[in-house]
């Protein structure tokens, strides 16, 4: 039995690096410090859906083949394609991503990562207005106003609050955990009374259904208190919202208007309307005051902002808001990246090609124009003639028409699991779990690179994503060289 300390959790963008694993007989038997997501991954990754051997589709059925055969077949498909796409990359190491970019350049393909369906819009807006940001460590020690906009870290990044923001004990800012416990107690008391009412112990007139505008409460006086404050803005009351000092429920798809209104209020402009996105303007004025009066504020935003009406313009306005606020105080902004290494994919693509996602190498040099060179749009227009999917499951997440085109053309899948995409695949190559069975590097959501550890050996015969890609790349080069020789001879 060995205990491995300081393991990085390869699940969400928080990339907690304080996990302790107990290993027995090449298996993880105990997880310490991790959240529920982390535990279930480290203890359950060996599940029944694991692919054990490489597969190739023959007569409509996936048949086991040797690794060499699968790699040769994959290389052949890619080397002969006119407009191939390479998609995924968010749940693998930077080392594998780097070879991916090399492969894309070699075959004249389009390489794209899952940012295109989550935080791609954030990147677009960063390109329009820049981004004032910092590391999570700085937020932990200094931030006294924390705003989560369109995201629910309690469910999607469970340790984010506890490790980096409201509930962590920073050097200059204290944890708000005690306040939260009090709130929970108060809420429990309220629930007791409510259930008593329901059981008829206490009589109360029937409540009318609430209207949207009544859902937004006035800001509590605690918004002006000293110390850490937590504000949540969302279209629905999430778990994180329950903990917040102030929760603002914005009408769906109205975030843009609300942010723009706050921007105008910060500039002391008068608005001609009483409400924006269902929120009374006087409440927004108080929020604007709290923002201006904090010492160090931060907005974390999620897909509630990037994937609703306005998309990247929502983020652009958020960043513009931060820029305005920085004239009065210190404010930063950070996207809540989902997959553990989607930030890494953007970073690696950028230092290799100059662009963060949707990079088209078909003309021999990198070209980038989201909407034109992004994987989903290419599939919807039916332009590609081969697809490689690695460490992602577009078969389950893309619109039907895109999946149909992907299935119609040759499809290569590299993944540890038999997911929806792998089931559609023509060549399926199983890989080792990065961060458990193979090592590598990943970038946390604040662009801090962290090492991923290998804690157990992969099942026999399985290679890491990096090695599989390197072998495909070598094979592609061999096929191209052979073709060249043949052409010269002819």
């Amino acid at each position: 039995m060995v205990v491995v300390k300081s393991v990085t959790c390869p699940i969400c963008g928080s990339l907690c690096d304080d996990i302790e694993l107990t290993i027995e007989n090449n298996e993880v038997v105990k997880v310490k410090n991790g959240c529920a997501l982390c535990e279930s991954k480290f203890l359950g990754y060996k599940g029944e859906h694991r692919i054990k051997t490489p597969l190739i589709r023959k007569d409509g059925k996936l048949m086991p083949v040797s690794l060499d055969e699968a790699i040769h077949k994959a290389a052949e498909i890619l080397a002969n394609a006119n407009y191939p796409i390479l998609y995924g990359w968010s749940s693998t190491s930077c080392e594998a991503q780097r070879i991916g970019v090399e492969l894309a350049e070699e075959i004249g393909g389009v390489i794209d990562n899952t940012a295109v369906v989550c935080h791609g819009p954030s990147i677009l807006s960063v390109q329009e207005v820049g981004i004032p940001t910092c590391t999570l460590g700085q937020i932990r020690h200094r931030a006294d106003l924390i705003i989560y906009w369109g995201c629910d870290p309690w469910s999607a990044h469970p340790r984010h609050l506890e490790r980096y923001t409201a509930f962590t004990e920073g050097r200059f800012e204290k944890s708000d955990w005690k306040g939260y416990i009090q709130k929970v107690k108060a809420a429990a008391g309220k629930k007791k009374i409510e259930s008593a009412v329901r059981r008829g112990v206490v009589k109360r007139p029937k409540a009318q259904p609430m209207l949207q505008h009544e859902l937004v409460n006035a800001p509590p006086p605690t918004l002006m208190k000293e110390g850490r404050k937590l504000i949540v803005v969302d279209a629905r009351k999430s778990m994180t919202a329950e903990m917040a000092d102030y929760f603002i429920q914005v009408e769906p798809n109205k975030d843009y208007e609300v942010m723009q209104a706050i921007r105008a209020l910060i500039r002391d402009q008068e608005l001609d309307v009483d409400k924006v996105g269902g929120v009374p303007v006087e409440y927004l004025e108080e929020v604007a005051d709290a923002m201006v009066n904090c010492n160090f504020g931060v907005i974390f935003f999620g897909m509630g902002l990037t994937q609703t009406a306005g998309k990247f313009r929502n983020i652009e306005v958020a960043i513009s808001l931060i820029r305005d606020l920085n004239k009065r105080t210190k404010f930063v902004i950070m996207p809540m990246r989902g997959h553990f290494n989607v930030t890494g994919a953007n970073v690696v693509f950028t230092w290799q090609s100059g662009y963060p996602y949707g990079v088209d190498f078909s003309l021999g040099y990198p070209r980038y124009n989201p909407g034109e060179t992004t994987c989903m749009d290419i599939l919807l227009r039916g332009e590609s003639d081969a697809t490689l999917v690695i460490a992602a499951d577009p078969g389950a997440t893309f619109p039907r028409r895109a999946v149909e085109h992907m299935a119609k053309t040759p499809l290569i899948v590299i993944d540890p699991h038999m997911n929806a995409t792998a089931m559609l695949g023509d060549v399926v190559i199983p890989s080792a779990f990065v961060g458990i069975e193979s090592e590598g590097t990943a970038y946390r959501m604040d662009h801090v690179p962290l090492p991923l550890k290998k804690v157990v050996d992969p099942p026999k015969g399985l290679l890491s994503d990096e090695e599989i890609l390197r072998r495909i790349l070598e094979e592609v080069r061999a096929i191209k060289a052979k073709k060249m020789r043949e052409a010269e001879a002819a």
Binding site: N82, A261, D272, S362, D385
Partner: protein, 270 residues
């Protein structure tokens, strides 16, 4: 006049920056057929992909007949001459165009007239998203010239516009004239929300229904009519809004009064 007809239905993107009167000028048919284009990741010649014929008529200089929906960058940076497209044309039509005329008897893809400086583009069908808008990270919007679209246009059109006129006879989607600095945009029918967001100057005229004016616009007056360009003016009456206040902008947004009775609540501020 050179007539181009696609030899097949293209599946892969065809990058054909060479289809421009300035480049064709003074070249024989054989020379034109040898011009470089890309189909997917393969380099080809124009003659590989198009049937190329010469016609006696002087104008237009170039005619494209048939489905060219995958053919991109036609008329890139053209300075003079005329192109007529009888069918659908792909993205980036007339990018950085400085003069001359392009007529599309069909629909046009996204980014038509991107970063345009002068000349005239007439689209008799619909236009895609990002009409006359710059690329990511650039603030070089349309600077001059005229674009007329008979049908509808997509979202984010006229973004960062700095001059020129866009006339849309149909409807437009959201973020029309986003961060506009100068110039004129006229939508005759319905317009998506967030029109003129972050604009600091210029003029947007909405002749049809507009669900909501950005909260950061303030009402200024009611005007009976507004001038679009030397040849055209639109009849109202129009509510005139100023904004975007979040940018301390002085852009003008004209919204038809008869088509938008729900905006009458603004009248109390007049």
């Amino acid at each position: 006049m050179i007539v181009l007809s696609p030899l097949k239905k293209f599946q892969f993107p065809v990058i054909a920056e060479c289809i421009s009167p300035d480049i064709f000028k003074g070249k024989s048919l054989a020379e034109i057929a040898k011009l470089e284009v890309w189909e997917g990741n393969k380099q080809r010649t124009l003659g590989d992909l198009f049937k190329i014929e010469e016609d006696k008529a002087e104008t237009p200089d170039i005619v494209i007949n048939g489905d060219a929906s995958e053919v991109r960058f036609v008329g890139k940076a053209m300075k003079s001459g005329e192109i007529v497209i009888n069918g659908v044309i792909g993205m980036h039509l007339g990018e950085k165009m400085a003069g001359g005329k392009i007529t599309v008897n069909g629909d046009a893809g996204g980014w038509a007239g991107a970063e345009m400086k002068g000349g005239l583009i007439e689209i008799h069908g619909n236009a895609g998203d990002y009409l006359a808008s710059p690329y990511r990270g650039s603030s070089a919007g349309m600077r001059g010239g005229t674009i007329i679209v008979d049908g509808n246009v997509g979202s984010d059109s006229g973004v960062y516009m700095r001059g020129g006129v866009i006339k849309i006879r149909g409807s437009a989607k959201q973020f029309l004239g986003f961060r506009m600095v100068d110039g004129t945009i006229y939508v005759q029918k319905e317009c998506g929300t967030r029109v003129g967001a972050c604009m600091t100057g210029g003029k947007i005229v909405v002749g049809g229904f507009l669900e909501e004016v950005m909260p950061t616009f303030t009402i200024d007056s009611i005007k009976p009519k507004v001038k679009i360009d030397d040849a055209e003016s639109a009849n109202g009456p129009f509510y005139v809004f100023l904004g975007d206040l979040a940018e301390e902008g002085r852009g003008k947004l004209f919204v038809s009064k008869p088509a938008n009775p729900h905006l009458s609540s603004y009248e109390k501020f007049l």
